[in-house]
């Protein structure tokens, strides 16, 4: 972690579009020097958003960019903060399209400092920044933003935006996660949304189905925000929520506002949620991408949109 990033941690948030996240902070003066325009957020921190150093590279505004969404398993009684829900969102402003690519937590990759191991280890080793870097390396993209949230933060966030409406694709009945849903449109509160996101025992494909459900929930939340926050009042309300409950690193509320506007211009019918196929191997108990998955990664990496898949 760089000195700047270390010092800069302030607060804010942006849960626009795929939005959920935040960062840590530590110095008002340095924050101002770094250009962050929101001095201090108030309230309990629910999530963190970090603008990664690679995002500062000059780019054309029409160029695609990529966001890592990270759900950690941090909760009372569990330490380590592994990145157990991993998603990359590609946003293509010029095409008005976005794609959510879901990555299973058991994917085997090279994690700096940990060797070849499950991809969720990266968060334990180096926090959201390293997790985002490793995700980007797997798929072949440079990730600009990392948004991370733990169990409690996720619940608060969903409740904070008034819940999320999900078209549940199949029945859930899993005592372990607490997921109990019938197929069909369901309005979920934070507890229910977390259970829906954690359930893997109801499906033959286990973690792969869980990962896909997480992407489906993100997609649903984006659609819902498109309805509820697509006005100046709705956007200011959302930004204030973020400002109170997100920890921001190297990014300000103003930046998030403009990112959110981009998100609201996405063609909802062309926001896709995909979970590439996996095979076994790579590391103990782990998964590896199939040839089809690698082909999908390449299709996604060039412009954030899938043309061939």
């Amino acid at each position: 972690m760089t000195t700047r990033r270390f010092i800069v941690r302030v607060v804010v948030v942006a849960a626009s579009f795929v939005v959920v996240a935040a960062l840590a902070t530590a110095g008002l003066t340095a924050a101002w020097l770094a250009g962050i325009r929101v001095p201090i957020a108030s309230g309990e921190t629910w999530f963190a958003i970090e603008k990664l150093e690679r995002a500062d590279v000059a780019r054309d505004p029409a160029d695609p960019f990529f966001i890592a969404l990270i759900g950690t398993d941090e909760r009372p009684g569990v330490s380590g903060q592994r990145g157990d829900a991993l998603h990359i969102v590609g946003v293509n402003p010029s095409l008005g399209q976005a794609t959510i690519v879901n990555i299973p937590r058991d994917m085997c990759v090279a994690v700096p400092g940990a060797g070849t191991t499950k991809i969720n280890t990266a968060h334990t080793v180096g926090g959201p920044g390293l997790q985002a870097d490793v995700l980007g390396s797997l798929v072949g993209v440079d990730i600009s933003y990392a948004i991370s949230v733990n169990f409690a933060g996720f619940q608060h966030l969903v409740d904070g935006v008034g819940g999320v409406t999900v078209d549940v694709p199949s029945a859930h009945n899993d005592p372990q996660s607490g997921a109990s849903f019938q197929p069909g449109v369901t309005k979920m509160n934070g507890v229910q949304a977390l259970a829906f996101s954690r359930n893997r025992y109801d499906f033959p494909s286990g973690d792969l189905a869980r990962t896909d459900n997480q992407g489906h929930l993100i997609w649903s939340a984006f659609h819902e925000l498109h309805e509820t926050a697509n006005s100046p009042t709705g956007q200011m309300r959302l930004l204030a929520l973020l400002g109170r409950h997100a920890q921001l690193d190297n990014v300000g509320l103003n930046d998030l506002y403009h990112l959110g506007r981009l998100a609201f211009r996405m063609d909802l019918a062309r926001v896709r949620n995909v979970t590439p196929s996996t095979g076994g191997g790579g590391c103990a108990g782990g998964l590896s991408p199939t040839a089809a998955a690698r082909s999908l990664y390449a299709d996604f990496a060039d412009d954030g949109v899938l043309q061939q898949h």
């Binding site: 929101v38 001095p39 100046p232 200011m236 103003n254 506002y257 990112l259």
Partner: protein, 209 residues
Amino acid sequence: MASAVVAVAALGACSGDGDSEAEDPTTTTAAVEGVDVALEPGAVTVFGVADGAVLAESAARAALVGAERYVQSAMVSPLARGDVAERFTGLFAPALLPLVQSGGRDHAVLTDAGIPEATATPSVTTSPVAIDALVATDGTPLMVVTAFRARTNAETDEGPVSVGRTVELTFERTDGDWLVTAYKISTTRRGIDDSPTSTTSVDSEVDAA
């Protein structure tokens, strides 16, 4: 969440609680060259990162004046004197100028450049300007969004023309000035080029990614 909705006849420091929408009557302003359009403030909604958020009067007024400048330059001047008063420098953020100035991608939607000049005094009808704002913990206004409708009607040598716009302008403090950093504008024209009605829209902002 700290929010305030206040319908104001004259701008002052704005604060309060609630989510009600203000009434939205229209007002009419006679527009002649040399006389600025005067927009009326409508509901002012303030959201704060902390409780008790208050929007400084200066910020609200700067946004309102900016909105007036936009209407005057983009809508009134073309009718009154045949061209757009290029007062966009100092109104739009530098990063947006290539889009909004003559030849820019959004120029034709943002302005009425090229429509026939009015043969009599045109009129401008506007709605009150709804103002939404976000205020930081220390009271610093972070952004102010103005939303309103405006319509011009005029007689020209080519017949009556009417242009209506739905306008959202986002103002942020940039190098000491409140400048437009994002806009969302929809324009409907009637009586121009023999086309009964045409509607075009733009939605642009400075790049943050």
